[in-house]
């Protein structure tokens, strides 16, 4: 009887422990102030989740996104600037974590490409327009019956 009781107690305890564990992992982050929360959300929205690559860190439910959100908050509380936090993640996960890539030699095409394409398009249009001779005014042809 004692054994059964002990076993039951142990089971109850281990269940509670497992639950606490799961909750600790899934618990939403606790913010100390509204400004901290605003800064965190701003930062998390600019960071890409590395696991599910079309979601931001703020949106993702992936295991790693959870850890990284926690890490970002810890770094914020350690007094790091947004810039330092981004550098921290980039040095570990690569440029990919930034939704807004930096302007660097490797990203010039990305940043300047659309503008360059627009210029090329404008050039083509301008050339076509200039080449098109002014169309002669359509002659009034009352004789025609349309």
């Amino acid at each position: 009887m004692h054994l059964v009781l002990a076993a039951l107690l142990w089971l109850a305890c281990s269940c509670a422990y497992a639950q606490a564990n799961a909750q600790a992992d899934a618990a939403p982050l606790q913010f100390r102030s509204a400004s901290e929360q605003a800064r965190f959300h701003g930062l998390a929205a600019e960071l890409r989740c590395v696991m599910c690559q079309n979601q931001s860190l703020a949106d993702s439910n992936a295991l790693i996104a959870l850890s990284l959100r926690r890490e970002v908050l810890d770094l914020m509380r350690a007094g790091r600037t947004d810039r330092q936090i981004k550098d921290f993640l980039v040095s570990r996960y690569g440029e990919f974590v930034l939704y807004k890539p930096r302007v660097a030699a490797s990203t010039w095409l990305l940043w300047l490409g659309p503008g360059a394409l627009l210029l090329v398009g404008a050039g083509v249009v301008a050339k076509l327009l200039r080449r098109r001779k002014p169309a002669p005014a359509t002659p009034d042809d009352d004789a025609q019956e349309w």
Binding site: V50, R92, G94, R131
Partner: protein
């Protein structure tokens, strides 16, 4: 004047080429894997307990001297079970030490998993909280890092190791490492 008649065709051909290149570039099934900024750099320092002797703390400095393959896994990871026989076969060749990195896992579950499927690892590190994993840029399991004797990361693979990946990427990386040592 004749050239403008060909313009639409040229534009269409250009677009087709661009889209074709896009399809061609996405032919790699591992296209979502992120290139690790760690490759070519010193591996991050860590201090983690060994799974089989929790009181023993292992550091990177201890592992230096000889190259090792760090394999990230968890008992919760489905793909790790797919990878397991491949990894076991590779570990049995004794080409390089295979160190397990048990990530975000309960040690009891991890030990049960190893007892059930077999332990291919020379040593298993246990990172229950996943703190050091962030330094390694780990974002999923399985992942594998090849670290040389000086502690420099030489190669990383995201996703399960396959015989093909081992033959076409890991072995050549090991060869270049051996020749430049």
């Amino acid at each position: 004047m004749n050239s403008s008649r060909w313009l639409p065709l040229v534009v269409f051909a250009g677009l087709a080429l661009l889209l074709g290149a896009g399809v061609w570039m996405s032919r790699n099934p591992d296209r979502d894997a992120l290139p690790s900024p760690l490759v070519g750099r010193q591996a991050p320092a860590f201090r983690l307990p060994a799974l089989h002797e929790p009181q023993r703390m292992v550091t990177l400095a201890e592992l230096k001297g000889q190259p090792f393959l760090l394999n990230v896994w968890g008992s919760w990871c489905v793909e790790c079970r797919v990878e397991h026989p491949v990894l076991t076969r590779f570990a049995e060749t004794r080409r390089v030490r295979v160190v397990g990195y048990n990530w975000k896992d309960e040690p009891a579950d991890a030990l049960r998993w190893l007892a059930q499927y077999g332990n291919p690892y020379w040593l298993v590190l246990s990172d229950v909280a996943g703190g050091s994993a962030i330094d390694w840029g780990i974002y999923g399991a399985p992942e594998s890092f090849l670290v040389d004797g000086r502690g420099i990361v030489r190669w990383k693979h995201v996703g399960p190791l396959t015989d093909k990946v081992i033959a076409s990427e890991l072995m050549p990386a090991l060869h270049t490492m051996a020749s430049t040592r």
